[in-house]
């Protein structure tokens, strides 16, 4: 135990923790801040977000025909409200825009009308009606199309879409929240990936380049120390990931999306997926995936650390792996992890493949370590 503790202290030094904080602050401002600061990002994203909350509060996480009629009624009432608003303003009456219908289909070539339109849409920020109407129209449109098969590439996708329609899991809830979460989680994964690699990489190489092995491997514990080092590496990986996840999800809570937690993933617009978790379960799934990626890259870093000649090679050899990983994090391995647009088997296969490879790698290195000549 004491050896393990000391190995841990060798990995998580103050210097390293400082570097970790520095790296993560830079990555936070470079990658993640945007998804927090600018959420919802402008109009009509804001209205979309608000209407979504209204829908969940009023109708729950599933909307049946009756509730939809109610939603439509709310729209009609808001149209009336808009009509009244337009009639109450002189410049709109003079321009002939007395109903919402006319306002919507105004003559875009007419500069005067254009100016009026953009005035009420962009400059008068306190007028929400028109943005909300626009968003409601979009949602109604999606609800009306709920039974239609939208595009698909292969038979499995078609089958899954039909299944979803049969079980009434229509994509009708506004998708701003889930899209924002996707961007957020992808970037968090990248930050965590860098952090794990940063912390874990130098550990085994450091002992070797300081020629500590001759001392360590002739002690009572002997070559088993290698296993302790691996264990210490895994514990550090776990601590780093957990600490960063706590911080980043703490920041994420500023986005205030908890009302959406019970909405099934498939009922967000354009989010057909192979499985049917709620938004909250989906978040948990992503967190699990982050741990997997973290452990795989932690193990890989330890493996590389056990045989590269110097720290330049240590960084260099990991660059292609990290770049490759970042590319797939943006796609099937994280952002679109259970999306119907990737084959169902892809993510599970790649994840298990990565785990198997990294474990085999470390076992081979342990075998090598047992027989290695440490004098050289």
């Amino acid at each position: 135990m004491r050896v393990l503790w000391n190995e841990l202290k060798k990995i998580l030094t103050w210097k390293m923790l400082f570097l970790l904080v520095l790296l993560n602050s830079v990555l936070y401002f470079f990658l993640i801040e945007f998804d927090i600061e600018h959420f919802p990002n402008g109009r009509p994203a804001l209205d979309s977000y608000n209407i979504g909350i209204e829908m969940i509060e009023k109708y729950g996480t599933h909307m049946d025909e009756e509730e939809f009629l109610d939603f439509k009624q709310a729209y009609d009432e808001q149209v009336k409200e808009a009509d009244q608003y337009l009639q109450s303003r002189r410049e709109f009456v003079e321009a002939g825009l007395v109903t919402y219908e006319k306002f919507k289909h105004f003559d875009r070539d007419n500069e005067e009308l254009n100016a009026l339109h953009s005035k009420v849409m962009f400059e008068e920020k306190e007028v929400n009606t028109f943005w909300e109407l626009q968003e409601r129209e979009r949602l109604i449109e999606f609800y009306d199309m709920k039974d239609e098969l939208r595009g698909y590439d292969n038979a499995q996708q078609k089958q899954r879409m039909e299944e979803l329609i049969a079980s009434k899991k229509y994509g009708v809830y506004p998708e701003v929240v889930i899209m924002n979460f996707r961007d957020f989680i992808g970037n968090v994964t990248i930050a965590i990936l860098f952090s794990v690699v940063l912390v874990i990489s130098p550990m085994i190489l450091k002992d070797r380049s300081r020629q500590m092995l001759a001392l360590q491997y002739t002690s009572k514990k002997g070559r088993n120390l290698f296993k302790t080092k691996i264990l210490a590496g895994l514990i550090s990986t776990f601590s780093v990931i957990t600490a960063l996840l706590i911080v980043y999800f703490g920041v994420y809570s500023l986005n205030d999306t908890s009302m959406y937690f019970d909405v099934p993933i498939n009922t967000f617009i354009g989010n057909a997926s192979w499985y049917d978790p709620t938004f909250f379960q989906y978040i948990l799934l992503c967190v699990a995936a982050i741990y997997l990626i973290g452990f795989v890259f932690g193990l890989l870093a330890m493996s590389f650390s056990s045989f590269v000649p110097n720290s330049m090679a240590l960084i260099g050899i990991q660059i292609p792996f990290i770049v490759g990983m970042i590319i797939v994090i943006g796609g099937p391995l994280m952002r679109y992890i259970i999306s119907i647009w990737n084959p169902q088997w892809l993510a599970p296969t790649v994840y298990s493949g990565m785990i198997v490879i990294s474990v085999i790698f470390i076992i081979l290195l342990w075998r090598r370590e047992k027989n290695r000549d440490i004098v050289l």
Partner: protein, 418 residues
């Protein structure tokens, strides 16, 4: 003697298989990126043909000639199709699926060529009208509103835009925008070369340079040979050789990537007749605003300028990495810190108050310079549109790097090397 030491120091880097492996991998990746995007490379030949036939400059006479030739082509089209069309687009609109097999491959090629020529012709005709619509004052206001500038920053930017508006008039007078080039809105060749391809070149060279510099600089400490090497006659002056070797390696690595990537690029894409075209050409207009440089640069000059910027910047980064590694004494941490600083330099202007000139001063950084090669020398590049941006950044950072290197060399003389 000193030369031989530098040579041996260099060998420490390029005898490392990882570095060579990465270099080859990066080059292969660049070649892939270029070839992968080349599905339209045959269409680019049209612009070259236009230059050959009508001269580089677009004049009223040459346009008239072009129109006449187009009429001849339309007559030829009539012979093929048996019907008369005002434009090849009219023909394509009426085309049905069954009709497609009626024409031979050669005829199709003719039709496609004609279509492209008509596109270039109509773009050339629209130049004056679309440039007349540009109001630099409005652009300035837009930039200021978008970045929420106020106070001194606003004043500074407005002053620069005033200069730019003069330059814009001068450019129009010179007719720099009336030269043939690949249609920007169709192919985005400027962005592809100077944004995508150069971004790859820059990031890749930077990674290799940071690694090789950190390796060379810290080699003795990492291999526990410092007591031997720094105890020789050459002694601590060896650091000078290490600096020389680092910079030489940086030059070598950058040259390799530049030559390999750009030669692939120009083999794949035919630029033969458009080297002399001005970078300000209206055809080089890709997004909302045309590319307008502060000087009348040809494509060739612009490319050489960009290469010079990238090259110098890479050498400076090598020097900066050298300094950092000397102080940090740990090549792993030094390399990570260097990469972090590179990104940090991009973020710093964002933290500055939008009312102060600090906003502009902090954007004179090497990272911004080298990542914005598509808009270097340009006045149309938003907050870094300043005329002196390129040379001021280079000169200032060269001085900073020199001072830092000298300082770190001096510092090393008294350092404990145990």
């Amino acid at each position: 003697m000193a030369m031989r030491i530098v040579w041996h120091e260099c060998q420490k880097a390029f005898k490392s298989p990882i570095l060579i492996g990465l270099l080859l991998l990066f080059t292969a990746f660049n070649v892939f990126v270029i070839v992968d995007n080349s599905y339209f490379k045959e269409e680019l030949k049209i612009a070259n043909q236009l230059v050959e036939k009508y001269g580089r400059k677009i004049t009223d006479e040459s346009l008239l000639q072009f129109e006449k030739d187009l009429q001849d082509d339309l007559t030829a089209l009539k012979e093929i199709t048996g019907q008369e069309y005002q434009s090849v687009y009219d023909f394509l609109e009426t085309l049905t699926f069954e009709d497609q097999n009626r024409y031979s491959e050669q005829e199709w090629r003719f039709i496609e060529q004609l279509q492209l020529k008509e596109m270039y012709f109509s773009m050339a005709n629209d130049i004056d009208a679309s440039y007349a619509k540009i109001d630099i004052q409005k652009v300035a206001e837009g930039t200021i509103a978008q970045s929420r500038l106020s106070g001194n920053a606003e004043k500074t930017l407005l002053r620069e835009y005033e200069k730019f508006s003069q330059r814009f008039e001068e450019m129009k007078q010179n007719g720099e925008h009336k030269e043939w080039f690949f249609a920007g809105k169709a192919y985005f060749m400027h962005s592809f070369l100077f944004k995508t391809v150069f971004l790859h070149i820059v990031i890749e060279s930077l990674m290799l340079i940071i690694l090789s510099t950190a390796l060379i600089t810290n080699y003795e400490f990492e291999n526990r040979t410092q007591l031997v090497t720094y105890g020789t006659t050459r002694g601590r002056r060896l650091m000078k050789d290490k600096l020389g070797a680092s910079v030489a390696m940086a030059a070598l690595l950058t040259t390799f990537i530049l030559v390999a990537t750009l030669s692939t690029y120009f083999i794949v894409y035919d630029y033969s007749n458009v080297w002399g075209t001005s970078i300000n050409s209206a055809f080089n207009w890709e997004y909302n605003f045309p590319n307008i440089a502060w000087w009348n640069l040809s494509i060739g000059q612009f490319l050489s300028g960009t290469i010079a910027i990238v090259f110098i910047t890479m050498l400076l980064y090598s020097g900066l990495t050298f300094t950092l590694t000397t102080f940090v004494k740990n090549s792993y941490i030094a390399a990570i810190l260097m990469a972090t600083f590179f990104v940090l330099a991009l973020l710093i202007p964002g933290f500055m108050p939008t009312s102060s000139n600090l906003l502009f001063i902090t954007s004179y950084s090497l990272s911004l310079l080298v990542l914005n090669t598509a808009s270097s020398f340009m006045g149309s590049s938003g907050l870094i549109m300043f005329k002196n941006f390129e040379w001021m950044t280079t000169v200032c950072w060269t001085m900073i790097t020199f001072v830092l290197c000298i300082f770190s060399l001096k510092w090393f003389h008294k350092k404990d090397i145990q």
